[in-house]
Protein backbone atom coordinates (compact mmCIF):
# COMPACT_ATOMS: atom_id res chain seq x y z
CA UNK A 1 0.00 0.00 0.00
CA UNK A 2 1.32 3.40 -0.97
CA UNK A 3 0.65 5.99 1.68
CA UNK A 4 0.93 8.74 -0.91
CA UNK A 5 -1.79 7.15 -3.01
CA UNK A 6 -4.18 7.03 -0.12
CA UNK A 7 -3.36 10.60 0.83
CA UNK A 8 -4.08 11.67 -2.75
CA UNK A 9 -7.46 9.99 -2.63
CA UNK A 10 -8.28 11.58 0.69
CA UNK A 11 -7.19 15.05 -0.32
CA UNK A 12 -9.15 14.84 -3.53
CA UNK A 13 -12.25 15.17 -1.37
CA UNK A 14 -11.02 18.63 -0.36
CA UNK A 15 -11.24 18.23 3.34
CA UNK A 16 -14.88 17.27 3.30
CA UNK A 17 -15.47 14.22 5.42
CA UNK A 18 -16.85 12.26 2.49
CA UNK A 19 -15.91 8.95 4.08
CA UNK A 20 -17.93 6.72 1.81
CA UNK A 21 -16.56 8.09 -1.44
CA UNK A 22 -13.02 8.05 -0.07
CA UNK A 23 -13.42 4.43 0.95
CA UNK A 24 -14.89 3.62 -2.46
CA UNK A 25 -11.86 5.08 -4.19
CA UNK A 26 -9.46 3.19 -1.95
CA UNK A 27 -11.36 -0.03 -2.48
CA UNK A 28 -11.29 0.48 -6.22
CA UNK A 29 -7.54 0.90 -6.14
CA UNK A 30 -6.66 -1.94 -3.80
CA UNK A 31 -9.72 -4.22 -4.17
CA UNK A 32 -10.08 -3.95 -0.42
CA UNK A 33 -9.61 -1.55 2.49
CA UNK A 34 -6.23 -2.08 4.12
CA UNK A 35 -6.03 -1.38 7.85
CA UNK A 36 -3.39 1.34 7.43
CA UNK A 37 -5.58 3.04 4.86
CA UNK A 38 -8.50 3.19 7.29
CA UNK A 39 -6.21 4.60 9.96
CA UNK A 40 -4.98 7.24 7.53
CA UNK A 41 -8.53 8.15 6.55
CA UNK A 42 -9.35 8.61 10.22
CA UNK A 43 -6.41 10.84 11.01
CA UNK A 44 -6.65 12.87 7.81
CA UNK A 45 -10.39 13.52 7.89
CA UNK A 46 -10.59 13.94 11.63
CA UNK A 47 -13.24 11.24 11.93
CA UNK A 48 -12.66 8.70 14.64
CA UNK A 49 -11.26 5.37 13.56
CA UNK A 50 -14.27 3.78 15.22
CA UNK A 51 -16.62 5.62 12.86
CA UNK A 52 -14.54 4.88 9.78
CA UNK A 53 -14.40 1.23 10.76
CA UNK A 54 -18.14 1.24 11.42
CA UNK A 55 -18.84 2.57 7.92
CA UNK A 56 -16.37 0.16 6.33
CA UNK A 57 -18.00 -2.84 7.97
CA UNK A 58 -21.57 -1.63 7.44
CA UNK A 59 -21.60 -1.67 3.66
CA UNK A 60 -21.33 -4.96 1.86
CA UNK A 61 -19.56 -3.24 -1.00
CA UNK A 62 -16.52 -2.72 1.20
CA UNK A 63 -14.16 -5.52 2.05
CA UNK A 64 -11.51 -5.57 4.75
CA UNK A 65 -9.88 -8.62 3.31
CA UNK A 66 -7.94 -8.64 0.04
CA UNK A 67 -10.10 -9.79 -2.82
CA UNK A 68 -9.12 -12.00 -5.70
CA UNK A 69 -8.11 -10.71 -9.09
CA UNK A 70 -11.51 -11.65 -10.43
CA UNK A 71 -14.88 -11.26 -8.86
CA UNK A 72 -17.83 -13.55 -9.50
CA UNK A 73 -21.19 -12.66 -7.98
CA UNK A 74 -24.23 -14.85 -8.17
CA UNK A 75 -27.62 -13.26 -7.63
CA UNK A 76 -29.73 -14.81 -4.88
CA UNK A 77 -32.56 -12.32 -5.17
CA UNK A 78 -36.12 -13.60 -5.11
CA UNK A 79 -36.49 -14.05 -8.87
CA UNK A 80 -33.13 -15.72 -9.34
CA UNK A 81 -33.77 -17.84 -6.28
CA UNK A 82 -37.00 -19.31 -7.62
CA UNK A 83 -35.30 -19.87 -10.95
CA UNK A 84 -32.75 -22.11 -9.27
CA UNK A 85 -29.91 -19.80 -8.24
CA UNK A 86 -29.43 -21.91 -5.11
CA UNK A 87 -28.10 -24.86 -7.12
CA UNK A 88 -25.87 -22.56 -9.15
CA UNK A 89 -24.42 -21.11 -5.96
CA UNK A 90 -23.95 -24.60 -4.53
CA UNK A 91 -22.10 -25.57 -7.70
CA UNK A 92 -19.79 -22.56 -7.41
CA UNK A 93 -19.13 -23.37 -3.76
CA UNK A 94 -18.28 -26.93 -4.67
CA UNK A 95 -16.12 -26.17 -7.67
CA UNK A 96 -14.22 -23.32 -6.05
CA UNK A 97 -14.25 -25.02 -2.67
CA UNK A 98 -15.17 -21.91 -0.72
CA UNK A 99 -18.06 -20.13 0.94
CA UNK A 100 -19.63 -16.99 -0.54
CA UNK A 101 -17.51 -13.99 0.37
CA UNK A 102 -14.27 -15.97 0.27
CA UNK A 103 -11.40 -15.90 -2.16
CA UNK A 104 -9.68 -18.89 -3.70
CA UNK A 105 -6.28 -19.65 -2.10
CA UNK A 106 -4.48 -18.69 -5.32
CA UNK A 107 -6.04 -15.24 -4.95
CA UNK A 108 -7.69 -15.53 -8.34
CA UNK A 109 -11.43 -15.52 -7.77
CA UNK A 110 -13.59 -13.98 -5.09
CA UNK A 111 -17.04 -15.50 -5.09
CA UNK A 112 -19.95 -13.73 -3.48
CA UNK A 113 -23.70 -13.72 -3.55
CA UNK A 114 -25.71 -10.57 -4.06
CA UNK A 115 -29.34 -9.82 -3.50
CA UNK A 116 -30.62 -8.36 -6.72
CA UNK A 117 -28.96 -7.17 -9.89
CA UNK A 118 -32.15 -5.70 -11.30
CA UNK A 119 -32.31 -8.01 -14.28
CA UNK A 120 -34.71 -10.55 -12.82
CA UNK A 121 -36.07 -11.68 -16.18
CA UNK A 122 -32.65 -13.05 -17.04
CA UNK A 123 -32.17 -15.03 -13.84
CA UNK A 124 -30.34 -16.88 -12.51
CA UNK A 125 -27.73 -14.24 -13.19
CA UNK A 126 -24.03 -14.52 -12.55
CA UNK A 127 -21.73 -11.56 -13.05
CA UNK A 128 -18.07 -12.21 -13.55
CA UNK A 129 -15.83 -9.18 -13.70
CA UNK A 130 -18.74 -7.04 -14.82
CA UNK A 131 -19.97 -9.45 -17.48
CA UNK A 132 -23.51 -10.69 -17.15
CA UNK A 133 -24.29 -14.33 -17.69
CA UNK A 134 -28.03 -14.83 -18.04
CA UNK A 135 -30.09 -17.96 -17.33
CA UNK A 136 -27.11 -19.74 -15.82
CA UNK A 137 -27.47 -23.45 -15.17
CA UNK A 138 -25.40 -25.73 -13.02
CA UNK A 139 -23.62 -27.05 -16.09
CA UNK A 140 -22.38 -23.64 -17.20
CA UNK A 141 -20.65 -22.93 -13.90
CA UNK A 142 -17.49 -24.69 -14.95
CA UNK A 143 -17.22 -22.63 -18.13
CA UNK A 144 -17.85 -19.38 -16.30
CA UNK A 145 -15.09 -20.17 -13.81
CA UNK A 146 -12.74 -21.09 -16.63
CA UNK A 147 -13.51 -17.95 -18.62
CA UNK A 148 -13.11 -15.85 -15.51
CA UNK A 149 -9.74 -17.35 -14.65
CA UNK A 150 -8.51 -16.91 -18.19
CA UNK A 151 -9.88 -13.42 -18.22
CA UNK A 152 -11.65 -14.13 -21.49
CA UNK A 153 -14.25 -11.60 -20.59
CA UNK A 154 -11.92 -8.75 -19.83
CA UNK A 155 -9.43 -9.28 -17.06
CA UNK A 156 -9.06 -5.90 -15.48
CA UNK A 157 -12.15 -6.42 -13.37
CA UNK A 158 -13.02 -2.81 -13.90
CA UNK A 159 -15.05 -3.18 -17.09
CA UNK A 160 -18.66 -2.47 -16.41
CA UNK A 161 -20.18 -3.65 -19.70
CA UNK A 162 -23.55 -5.23 -19.48
CA UNK A 163 -23.02 -7.72 -22.26
CA UNK A 164 -25.07 -10.68 -23.24
CA UNK A 165 -26.11 -12.10 -26.53
CA UNK A 166 -29.54 -11.33 -27.98
CA UNK A 167 -31.54 -13.45 -30.41
CA UNK A 168 -33.34 -10.85 -32.55
CA UNK A 169 -36.29 -11.44 -34.88
CA UNK A 170 -38.70 -9.37 -36.96
CA UNK A 171 -41.85 -8.40 -35.04
CA UNK A 172 -43.90 -8.68 -38.25
CA UNK A 173 -42.87 -11.92 -39.94
CA UNK A 174 -41.07 -13.45 -36.96
CA UNK A 175 -38.03 -14.49 -38.98
CA UNK A 176 -34.62 -14.36 -37.37
CA UNK A 177 -32.50 -11.29 -37.98
CA UNK A 178 -29.32 -13.04 -36.88
CA UNK A 179 -26.67 -13.25 -39.56
CA UNK A 180 -24.55 -16.26 -38.61
CA UNK A 181 -22.14 -15.55 -41.46
CA UNK A 182 -21.07 -12.14 -40.18
CA UNK A 183 -19.49 -11.96 -36.75
CA UNK A 184 -19.01 -8.86 -34.65
CA UNK A 185 -17.05 -9.21 -31.40
CA UNK A 186 -17.05 -12.97 -31.68
CA UNK A 187 -20.85 -13.21 -31.93
CA UNK A 188 -23.13 -13.47 -34.95
CA UNK A 189 -24.40 -10.03 -35.89
CA UNK A 190 -27.95 -8.78 -36.24
CA UNK A 191 -28.72 -7.76 -39.81
CA UNK A 192 -31.52 -5.54 -41.04
CA UNK A 193 -31.97 -3.37 -44.10
CA UNK A 194 -32.00 0.41 -43.84
CA UNK A 195 -33.21 3.11 -46.15
CA UNK A 196 -30.82 6.06 -46.31
CA UNK A 197 -30.41 9.14 -48.47
CA UNK A 198 -28.00 7.22 -50.65
CA UNK A 199 -30.22 4.20 -51.13
CA UNK A 200 -31.30 1.06 -49.31
CA UNK A 201 -28.65 -1.30 -47.97
CA UNK A 202 -27.84 -3.61 -45.08
CA UNK A 203 -26.94 -2.56 -41.57
CA UNK A 204 -25.33 -4.84 -39.03
CA UNK A 205 -25.24 -4.35 -35.28
CA UNK A 206 -23.65 -6.63 -32.68
CA UNK A 207 -25.99 -9.14 -31.05
CA UNK A 208 -24.00 -8.59 -27.89
CA UNK A 209 -26.03 -6.29 -25.69
CA UNK A 210 -23.70 -3.61 -24.44
CA UNK A 211 -22.02 -2.83 -27.74
CA UNK A 212 -23.74 -0.36 -30.02
CA UNK A 213 -21.78 0.15 -33.22
CA UNK A 214 -23.74 0.29 -36.47
CA UNK A 215 -22.00 -1.08 -39.53
CA UNK A 216 -23.59 0.06 -42.82
CA UNK A 217 -23.28 -0.92 -46.45
CA UNK A 218 -23.39 2.74 -47.46
CA UNK A 219 -21.37 5.55 -46.05
CA UNK A 220 -23.66 8.07 -44.35
CA UNK A 221 -23.01 10.99 -42.00
CA UNK A 222 -23.10 10.25 -38.24
CA UNK A 223 -26.30 12.25 -37.74
CA UNK A 224 -28.19 10.67 -40.67
CA UNK A 225 -31.53 9.05 -39.89
CA UNK A 226 -32.00 5.49 -41.11
CA UNK A 227 -35.34 3.85 -41.81
CA UNK A 228 -35.08 0.28 -40.54
CA UNK A 229 -36.66 -2.48 -42.66
CA UNK A 230 -37.00 -6.21 -42.20
CA UNK A 231 -34.76 -7.91 -44.78
CA UNK A 232 -37.29 -10.77 -45.08
CA UNK A 233 -40.73 -9.19 -45.28
CA UNK A 234 -39.65 -5.63 -45.99
CA UNK A 235 -41.88 -4.15 -43.29
CA UNK A 236 -40.86 -0.94 -41.58
CA UNK A 237 -39.44 -1.67 -38.13
CA UNK A 238 -39.86 1.87 -36.87
CA UNK A 239 -41.68 1.80 -33.52
CA UNK A 240 -43.51 4.46 -31.56
CA UNK A 241 -40.71 5.07 -29.10
CA UNK A 242 -38.41 8.04 -29.42
CA UNK A 243 -34.74 7.75 -28.53
CA UNK A 244 -34.00 8.80 -24.95
CA UNK A 245 -30.69 10.28 -26.05
CA UNK A 246 -31.54 12.22 -29.22
CA UNK A 247 -35.30 11.90 -29.66
CA UNK A 248 -35.02 10.30 -33.13
CA UNK A 249 -37.47 7.47 -33.94
CA UNK A 250 -36.34 4.00 -32.90
CA UNK A 251 -36.24 0.72 -34.80
CA UNK A 252 -37.81 -2.16 -32.90
CA UNK A 253 -37.03 -5.88 -32.98
CA UNK A 254 -38.29 -8.85 -31.00
CA UNK A 255 -35.85 -10.56 -28.67
CA UNK A 256 -35.70 -14.29 -27.92
CA UNK A 257 -38.87 -15.10 -29.83
CA UNK A 258 -40.90 -12.28 -28.34
CA UNK A 259 -40.07 -12.40 -24.60
CA UNK A 260 -38.57 -8.98 -25.07
CA UNK A 261 -38.15 -6.03 -27.36
CA UNK A 262 -35.00 -4.17 -28.26
CA UNK A 263 -35.29 -0.69 -29.70
CA UNK A 264 -32.28 1.01 -31.19
CA UNK A 265 -32.00 4.61 -32.24
CA UNK A 266 -32.30 5.17 -35.98
CA UNK A 267 -29.63 7.88 -35.99
CA UNK A 268 -26.39 6.45 -37.34
CA UNK A 269 -24.07 7.78 -34.67
CA UNK A 270 -26.38 7.48 -31.63
CA UNK A 271 -26.02 4.59 -29.20
CA UNK A 272 -29.50 5.10 -27.72
CA UNK A 273 -31.30 1.83 -27.04
CA UNK A 274 -34.01 0.37 -24.85
CA UNK A 275 -34.21 -3.31 -23.95
CA UNK A 276 -37.40 -4.65 -22.41
CA UNK A 277 -37.50 -8.26 -21.25
CA UNK A 278 -40.64 -9.83 -19.79
CA UNK A 279 -41.97 -6.35 -19.23
CA UNK A 280 -38.86 -5.19 -17.39
CA UNK A 281 -36.81 -2.40 -18.94
CA UNK A 282 -33.07 -2.71 -18.63
Amino acid sequence: METANILDIIHKSEGKAAIISILEDIQEKYTYLPEEALRLVATETGCSLTDVYGVATFYKAFSLKPRGKHCVSACLGTACHVRGAETVVAEFKGQLNLQPGETTPDNEITFETVNCLGACALGPIVVSDGHYHANVTKREVKDIIKATREGTHGSDGASKDYEFSLEASCPQCGQSLIDAAYYIDGHPSIRIDVMTDVGTGWMRVPSLYGNFVKILEHIVPEDALLTPLCPHCGSNLQGELGCLECNAPMGTMNVDGGVGIISICSRKGCSGHILTLNGATI
Binding site: E35, L38, S48, L49, T50, D51, Y53, G54, T57, F58
Partner: protein, 225 residues
Protein backbone atom coordinates in the same frame (compact mmCIF):
# COMPACT_ATOMS: atom_id res chain seq x y z
CA UNK B 1 -43.33 26.33 27.64
CA UNK B 2 -45.25 23.43 26.19
CA UNK B 3 -48.37 22.03 27.73
CA UNK B 4 -49.17 18.37 27.34
CA UNK B 5 -51.39 15.84 29.09
CA UNK B 6 -49.91 12.71 30.60
CA UNK B 7 -52.37 10.13 31.89
CA UNK B 8 -54.96 12.90 32.11
CA UNK B 9 -52.70 15.22 34.06
CA UNK B 10 -51.73 18.51 32.45
CA UNK B 11 -48.14 19.54 32.66
CA UNK B 12 -46.07 22.41 31.33
CA UNK B 13 -42.52 21.64 30.38
CA UNK B 14 -39.62 23.38 28.67
CA UNK B 15 -39.35 23.05 24.93
CA UNK B 16 -37.13 20.11 24.05
CA UNK B 17 -38.14 18.03 27.07
CA UNK B 18 -38.79 14.42 26.16
CA UNK B 19 -41.99 12.62 27.13
CA UNK B 20 -39.91 10.43 29.41
CA UNK B 21 -38.54 13.39 31.33
CA UNK B 22 -41.98 15.00 31.56
CA UNK B 23 -43.57 11.78 32.81
CA UNK B 24 -40.86 11.20 35.37
CA UNK B 25 -41.24 14.79 36.52
CA UNK B 26 -44.93 14.11 37.15
CA UNK B 27 -44.05 10.89 38.92
CA UNK B 28 -45.21 8.39 36.35
CA UNK B 29 -42.72 5.56 36.15
CA UNK B 30 -41.57 4.44 32.72
CA UNK B 31 -39.05 1.62 32.58
CA UNK B 32 -35.95 2.24 30.49
CA UNK B 33 -32.93 0.26 29.51
CA UNK B 34 -30.92 2.06 26.87
CA UNK B 35 -31.62 5.46 28.41
CA UNK B 36 -29.05 6.97 30.73
CA UNK B 37 -29.01 10.40 32.22
CA UNK B 38 -25.99 12.19 30.90
CA UNK B 39 -25.99 10.29 27.64
CA UNK B 40 -27.90 11.28 24.54
CA UNK B 41 -31.22 9.47 23.96
CA UNK B 42 -30.88 6.62 21.54
CA UNK B 43 -34.18 4.71 21.34
CA UNK B 44 -32.73 1.25 20.91
CA UNK B 45 -34.52 -0.91 23.45
CA UNK B 46 -38.13 0.31 23.05
CA UNK B 47 -38.81 -0.53 26.67
CA UNK B 48 -39.98 3.01 27.30
CA UNK B 49 -42.93 2.85 24.88
CA UNK B 50 -45.91 5.09 25.57
CA UNK B 51 -49.09 5.69 23.61
CA UNK B 52 -49.75 9.12 22.13
CA UNK B 53 -52.77 10.57 20.37
CA UNK B 54 -56.41 9.56 20.39
CA UNK B 55 -58.66 6.92 18.86
CA UNK B 56 -57.50 5.29 15.67
CA UNK B 57 -54.64 7.78 15.34
CA UNK B 58 -53.08 6.64 18.60
CA UNK B 59 -49.63 5.17 18.27
CA UNK B 60 -46.74 3.84 20.26
CA UNK B 61 -43.55 5.84 20.44
CA UNK B 62 -40.38 5.58 22.48
CA UNK B 63 -40.74 8.21 25.17
CA UNK B 64 -37.00 8.65 25.66
CA UNK B 65 -36.60 10.12 22.19
CA UNK B 66 -39.99 11.76 21.61
CA UNK B 67 -40.03 15.48 22.39
CA UNK B 68 -43.06 16.91 24.18
CA UNK B 69 -45.49 18.64 21.82
CA UNK B 70 -48.15 21.23 22.53
CA UNK B 71 -51.45 19.53 23.37
CA UNK B 72 -49.99 16.01 23.15
CA UNK B 73 -51.98 13.34 24.95
CA UNK B 74 -49.80 10.62 26.44
CA UNK B 75 -50.72 7.39 28.18
CA UNK B 76 -47.86 5.68 29.92
CA UNK B 77 -49.62 2.54 31.08
CA UNK B 78 -52.53 1.81 28.75
CA UNK B 79 -53.33 -1.80 27.94
CA UNK B 80 -51.60 -1.46 24.60
CA UNK B 81 -48.49 -0.01 26.20
CA UNK B 82 -48.28 -2.76 28.79
CA UNK B 83 -48.69 -5.43 26.14
CA UNK B 84 -45.98 -3.94 23.96
CA UNK B 85 -43.67 -3.46 26.91
CA UNK B 86 -44.06 -7.06 28.04
CA UNK B 87 -43.29 -8.19 24.52
CA UNK B 88 -40.11 -6.10 24.52
CA UNK B 89 -39.11 -7.67 27.82
CA UNK B 90 -39.70 -11.14 26.43
CA UNK B 91 -37.52 -10.32 23.45
CA UNK B 92 -34.78 -8.98 25.70
CA UNK B 93 -34.97 -12.12 27.82
CA UNK B 94 -34.78 -14.20 24.68
CA UNK B 95 -31.50 -12.64 23.64
CA UNK B 96 -29.75 -12.06 26.95
CA UNK B 97 -31.35 -14.01 29.81
CA UNK B 98 -28.23 -13.85 31.96
CA UNK B 99 -28.35 -10.08 32.37
CA UNK B 100 -29.18 -9.08 35.90
CA UNK B 101 -30.59 -5.78 34.67
CA UNK B 102 -32.98 -7.47 32.28
CA UNK B 103 -33.97 -10.06 34.87
CA UNK B 104 -34.83 -7.29 37.30
CA UNK B 105 -36.95 -5.50 34.73
CA UNK B 106 -38.72 -8.74 33.86
CA UNK B 107 -39.51 -9.50 37.46
CA UNK B 108 -40.81 -5.97 38.05
CA UNK B 109 -43.20 -6.45 35.16
CA UNK B 110 -44.11 -9.94 36.15
CA UNK B 111 -42.75 -11.52 33.00
CA UNK B 112 -41.74 -15.06 33.93
CA UNK B 113 -41.44 -16.67 30.55
CA UNK B 114 -40.55 -15.79 27.02
CA UNK B 115 -41.90 -17.44 23.91
CA UNK B 116 -39.01 -17.03 21.50
CA UNK B 117 -35.99 -19.06 20.58
CA UNK B 118 -33.57 -18.76 23.45
CA UNK B 119 -30.24 -17.14 22.75
CA UNK B 120 -27.40 -16.23 25.05
CA UNK B 121 -26.07 -13.04 23.58
CA UNK B 122 -23.39 -11.04 25.32
CA UNK B 123 -24.77 -7.82 23.98
CA UNK B 124 -28.22 -6.44 23.24
CA UNK B 125 -26.86 -3.58 21.12
CA UNK B 126 -28.31 -0.93 23.39
CA UNK B 127 -25.44 1.38 22.49
CA UNK B 128 -24.92 2.56 26.08
CA UNK B 129 -21.24 1.68 26.08
CA UNK B 130 -20.67 3.44 22.77
CA UNK B 131 -22.32 6.62 23.99
CA UNK B 132 -20.57 6.41 27.33
CA UNK B 133 -17.19 6.11 25.70
CA UNK B 134 -17.88 8.91 23.25
CA UNK B 135 -19.86 11.39 25.29
CA UNK B 136 -18.49 11.00 28.79
CA UNK B 137 -15.06 9.54 28.30
CA UNK B 138 -14.38 11.49 25.10
CA UNK B 139 -12.55 8.48 23.75
CA UNK B 140 -14.64 6.94 20.95
CA UNK B 141 -12.69 3.77 21.38
CA UNK B 142 -15.58 1.41 20.68
CA UNK B 143 -18.44 1.53 18.24
CA UNK B 144 -20.93 -0.43 16.21
CA UNK B 145 -19.58 -2.62 13.46
CA UNK B 146 -21.30 -4.49 10.67
CA UNK B 147 -25.03 -4.56 10.24
CA UNK B 148 -28.13 -6.69 10.52
CA UNK B 149 -27.58 -9.95 12.33
CA UNK B 150 -23.83 -9.37 12.12
CA UNK B 151 -23.93 -6.12 14.07
CA UNK B 152 -21.62 -6.00 17.03
CA UNK B 153 -19.79 -3.69 19.39
CA UNK B 154 -16.07 -3.48 19.71
CA UNK B 155 -12.88 -1.71 18.87
CA UNK B 156 -11.75 -1.21 15.26
CA UNK B 157 -10.05 -4.38 13.99
CA UNK B 158 -10.82 -6.06 17.32
CA UNK B 159 -7.51 -5.07 18.76
CA UNK B 160 -6.70 -2.99 21.78
CA UNK B 161 -7.63 0.58 20.91
CA UNK B 162 -5.00 3.32 21.17
CA UNK B 163 -7.57 5.74 22.48
CA UNK B 164 -9.12 3.51 25.15
CA UNK B 165 -8.06 4.69 28.57
CA UNK B 166 -9.21 1.58 30.43
CA UNK B 167 -11.62 3.71 32.38
CA UNK B 168 -14.16 0.92 32.56
CA UNK B 169 -17.03 3.28 31.83
CA UNK B 170 -18.32 1.09 29.04
CA UNK B 171 -18.58 -1.92 31.29
CA UNK B 172 -20.12 0.05 34.07
CA UNK B 173 -23.15 1.04 31.99
CA UNK B 174 -23.51 -2.23 30.14
CA UNK B 175 -26.71 -4.04 31.12
CA UNK B 176 -25.37 -7.31 29.75
CA UNK B 177 -21.96 -7.52 31.36
CA UNK B 178 -22.32 -5.16 34.29
CA UNK B 179 -22.63 -7.90 36.83
CA UNK B 180 -19.58 -9.69 35.59
CA UNK B 181 -17.26 -6.79 35.67
CA UNK B 182 -18.40 -5.51 39.01
CA UNK B 183 -17.25 -8.90 40.24
CA UNK B 184 -18.15 -9.44 43.89
CA UNK B 185 -18.76 -5.85 44.78
CA UNK B 186 -21.84 -4.72 42.89
CA UNK B 187 -22.18 -1.59 44.98
CA UNK B 188 -18.81 -0.42 43.74
CA UNK B 189 -20.40 -0.53 40.32
CA UNK B 190 -17.17 -0.80 38.43
CA UNK B 191 -14.37 -3.12 39.32
CA UNK B 192 -11.52 -1.45 37.50
CA UNK B 193 -9.27 -4.19 38.74
CA UNK B 194 -7.66 -4.34 35.34
CA UNK B 195 -6.39 -0.85 35.76
CA UNK B 196 -4.98 -1.17 39.26
CA UNK B 197 -3.16 -4.44 38.84
CA UNK B 198 -5.25 -6.41 41.27
CA UNK B 199 -7.88 -7.97 39.08
CA UNK B 200 -10.21 -9.97 41.27
CA UNK B 201 -11.69 -11.87 38.37
CA UNK B 202 -8.72 -14.14 37.75
CA UNK B 203 -9.94 -16.32 40.54
CA UNK B 204 -13.39 -16.47 39.12
CA UNK B 205 -14.78 -19.67 37.65
CA UNK B 206 -16.40 -18.15 34.56
CA UNK B 207 -13.36 -16.08 33.71
CA UNK B 208 -13.30 -17.25 30.13
CA UNK B 209 -16.92 -16.32 29.52
CA UNK B 210 -16.26 -12.75 30.41
CA UNK B 211 -16.63 -10.03 27.91
CA UNK B 212 -14.31 -7.17 28.49
CA UNK B 213 -13.16 -4.44 26.13
CA UNK B 214 -9.99 -4.04 28.08
CA UNK B 215 -8.43 -6.85 26.21
CA UNK B 216 -5.76 -7.67 26.66
CA UNK B 217 -6.61 -6.76 30.22
CA UNK B 218 -4.17 -7.16 33.02
CA UNK B 219 -6.30 -9.92 34.40
CA UNK B 220 -6.16 -11.87 31.18
CA UNK B 221 -2.40 -11.49 31.06
CA UNK B 222 -1.96 -12.67 34.64
CA UNK B 223 -4.25 -15.59 34.03
CA UNK B 224 -2.24 -16.63 31.00
CA UNK B 225 1.06 -16.78 32.89
Amino acid sequence: MITLTINGLRASVEKGTTILEAARFLGFPIPTLCHHEGLSPYGACRLCVVEIGDGPGARLVSSCTYPAEEGLKVRTASERVIKARRMVIELLLASCPQSKVIQDIASRHNVRQQRFRQEYEDCILCGLCVRMCEEQMMAKAIGFRGRGSGRSIGTPFDIRSDVCRLCGGCMQVCPACQLRCTYTEPDKAVCGGCANLSPPCVEKEQFHDMMCYMSPCVACEIRKD
